[in-house]
């Protein structure tokens, strides 16, 4: 069959697809089902994303050869297509719109991260201003104190 150069895998509910810190050399496309990605922050699992049919994940580890940034678990019985680096080239050649969809999804993620960064900076600026006001007040009180 045409697309059978790619590795198809099935997972049951609760199966771990990869764990945070694992070495990763492949990305995944969700052919059927749903997965959830979480990350350990201060000893707690923090939700990062849920991916459904047609979505892809795990490309960071594939593209940068870095360990997995999060843990991925199947939420329901799930079928995934696993793609390694050589297969990715083949996939992009045979299915060029996949490249465009990867770029779109990554651009959306960058947009989301920029928004989060702006919010954090806003919070930090507000807390700095608050701190500066407190410091200025305490300095004023010290200067004006009788001793």
């Amino acid at each position: 069959m045409a697309a059978r150069y790619l590795d198809e895998r099935t997972y049951e509910t609760g199966d771990i697809i990869f764990a945070e810190g694992d070495p990763g050399s492949e990305m995944f496309i969700v052919s059927e089902g749903h997965v959830v990605i979480t990350k350990q922050v201060a000893g707690r699992d923090v939700f990062l994303a849920a991916q459904g049919r047609g979505d892809f994940f795990g490309e960071m580890a594939l593209l940068t050869s870095s360990p997995r940034h999060g843990t991925c678990v199947a939420l329901v019985p799930t079928r995934l297509v696993a793609i390694k680096s050589g297969e990715l080239l083949m996939k992009l050649r045979r299915d060029p719109t996949f490249a465009l969809e990867m770029l779109q999804q990554m651009t959306r993620r960058i947009g989301y991260l920029e928004e989060q960064m702006a919010k954090l900076m806003e919070q930090e600026l507000a807390s700095r201003q608050e701190l500066a006001t407190i410091l200025a007040k305490s300095e004023y009180r010290l200067r004006d104190s009788p001793g």
Partner: protein
């Protein structure tokens, strides 16, 4: 760029080649658009809606202007997506400026619980992608010959039938593709592309480009490949209605 849309009622056709010297599809296409409007369907013209290769300046300008006037008339009532194909790619800026059409490279349609890919399909035409100059050169020469003898236009389809159906049978290659009219007389690359896309979680893949209409199961019967053929022969269109996808003929 729009690529992901939610549409519960959508009609899809392709390869109307309005303006072609060898096909007169404009009036039929306008009737089809009126039908969609009357039945509250949005539509997608899935590539090669307008012809720029097999045409003359006079025919191109009169036919295109008339079609685009009708499209602007209907665009206030329904959404008209227009996928760019290989015969109209140089019109992309012009069509975008004209108004009424939502130009898209392809569409990922969510309809009820189904995911449907609509794409013209020329990206999977191996000869067009690997030797475009040769292909365009031959097309121009063929067009010149056809202007002198218009019925000769169908000889190209005969050539493809000989090349794929009989050669495939002779060589014993891809015999499973001989069973369906949608894959019998064309390169296996279109069927392979539909398989690739279906594996990415699409329930239906709709192409045009090959001028061969039909339906074929793909991805182990989990999805279906549709081709809407062309308006040179018997026009066909796909109806998407709350996730149900069906290929229907359009009376020419």
């Amino acid at each position: 760029m729009i690529t992901d849309v939610r549409e519960n009622r959508l009609l899809v056709t392709s390869d109307t080649h309005v303006g072609s010297l060898f096909c007169d599809a404009r009036r039929g296409l306008v009737r089809w658009l009126d039908y969609a409007c009357a039945h509250k369907y949005n539509v997608c013209i899935n590539g090669d809606g307008i012809e720029v290769q097999y045409t003359s300046l006079t025919r191109f300008t009169t036919e295109t202007a008339a079609l685009l006037r009708d499209i602007r008339r209907l665009a206030s009532e329904i959404t008209i997506y227009y996928t760019i194909g290989n015969h109209d790619i140089i019109l992309e800026h012009y069509l975008g400026e004209w108004g009424g059409l939502r130009l898209v490279p392809y569409l990922n349609v969510s309809s009820a619980t189904k995911r449907i890919r609509i794409e013209h399909g020329h990206l999977y035409d191996t000869s067009l992608m690997t030797r475009p100059d040769l292909r365009y050169g031959l097309r121009r020469f063929f067009c010149f010959l056809c202007r002198m003898y218009p019925p000769g236009f169908h000889s190209y389809q005969m050539y493809e039938t000989l090349r794929y159906r009989y050669l495939r049978r002779l060589l014993g290659h891809d015999r499973h593709l001989l069973d369906s009219p949608v894959t019998r007389d064309v390169s296996p690359s279109f069927h392979e592309a539909a398989e690739d896309l279906a594996q990415r979680g699409f329930d239906a893949v709709i192409f045009g480009h090959t001028h061969r209409h039909g339906v074929l199961p793909v991805n182990g019967n989990r999805a279906r490949y549709f081709n809407t053929g062309s308006w040179f022969d018997q026009p066909h269109y796909v109806v998407i209605d709350n996730g149900e996808v069906e290929l229907r003929p359009w009376p020419s």
